[in-house]
Symmetry: C2
Subunit: 258 residues, 2 copies
Amino acid sequence: MSPVSLIGLGLNSEKGISMEGLEEARAADSVFAEFYTNPMPNLSLANLESMLGKKVRILDRTNLENENGIRLLEASEKGKTVLLVPGDPMIATTHVSLRLSLAKRGIGCRIVHGASIISAVCGATGLQSYKFGKSITLPKADPVPSSVLNALRENWERSAHTLLLLDVNDGQGRMTAQDSLTRLVNADSSLGERLAVAAVRIGSLDEMVRAGKARSLTRVDLGGPPHCIVFPGRLHFMEEEALKTFGGASDLDLQGNK
Amino acid sequence: MSPVSLIGLGLNSEKGISMEGLEEARAADSVFAEFYTNPMPNLSLANLESMLGKKVRILDRTNLENENGIRLLEASEKGKTVLLVPGDPMIATTHVSLRLSLAKRGIGCRIVHGASIISAVCGATGLQSYKFGKSITLPKADPVPSSVLNALRENWERSAHTLLLLDVNDGQGRMTAQDSLTRLVNADSSLGERLAVAAVRIGSLDEMVRAGKARSLTRVDLGGPPHCIVFPGRLHFMEEEALKTFGGASDLDLQGNK
């Protein structure tokens, strides 16, 4: 059995892969990719294949989970195998599960890291990474679970920022920040007056950051996916400056976060 | 004035840069780099320069902070300017400050993201990213600040994991996990019985993860930098499996985190 490498594609496009990841994928005998944990609308499979000089086989959830990654296992019997994944590998639980299942079979697994929204959201918004509390994924099904509202409240009580990832909306990429904020404000109207930050298409040339009261952001057209949302806690002076400069926040918007 | 790009070098070596970052740096008129916010002992400046096909000028803290990045500003008057930084840009406050100072002068700034320990530590350890509470940087000066002990306790009370980054030890890279754990256990002996995870040289070919009681990890030789530490909160079944499989934890080590 040859080892399997999980290689992160980073944010936005096929050019998010690191030089190390590129070299490793070029040297592999079989290259797979999955995009169901996180669609990458700006990635071109044709460009990716031409960068790597080889065919990339796309695995769906069934291929990777229900059959314990059997196609990966078969390939690793024949030679060096690579699985390309969106963002940074192992942020998705399914990758952890895959790596454990490889280890049980005595197959080594190496991770080549890529950029992730988990850290990129700090860069885009100017919010400080050490001030983020537990993050949340908002599921697409109504109603909004009380666990989401509880996590938002607990972080707020600790003056921590909350990163809210938006669940994948099958066939349409991730949900929008506007719709998600509307659902949250409907579930707890006090959230409407909280400062929120929409971080949109982070890493692309048309990335956008908009900071304002959650209720007002429900009416802003933010364009295509992917979107995510931060509910900031107490702000440091430099974070206030960043949200004004990069996100268009007003002094009034920031008043509740002093 | 031409825009300035902040490009992340990711983890470990010069090959952590993304394809997009590489193309942008190759097309730039001036390329700077800074490593004082986070030393990259495995990065070769000669290899980096040969990848980019141009000279890279290293900026120290004085160049970048005390003079408001004057050398970057001068370069951006003459053409497209790039600043290469360790990890993912803007995790360090100094990058936020730089971007704000560029914005005040009407100079655009683009971020090309890279892998960061903030997300990579999840992949290396199998701990789930959404369960991390506020992270902490342990300063090198004694005594251990009470804010560090408080943050550890608050995350524990919320069943959250705590990422502990280790401050840069001038001239010697970052502090070691062993020394840091010794200081923490001396400051609060109850931490000795807590499960801790040392994540070492993440992203390199000789990365290492060791999970066990904090007191026992103070006696393990983990080799060269960079090191970081996670104090896990309550563990999910799959996280337990991961800490056993990737970190060598025993059932006894995990007992306090059920």
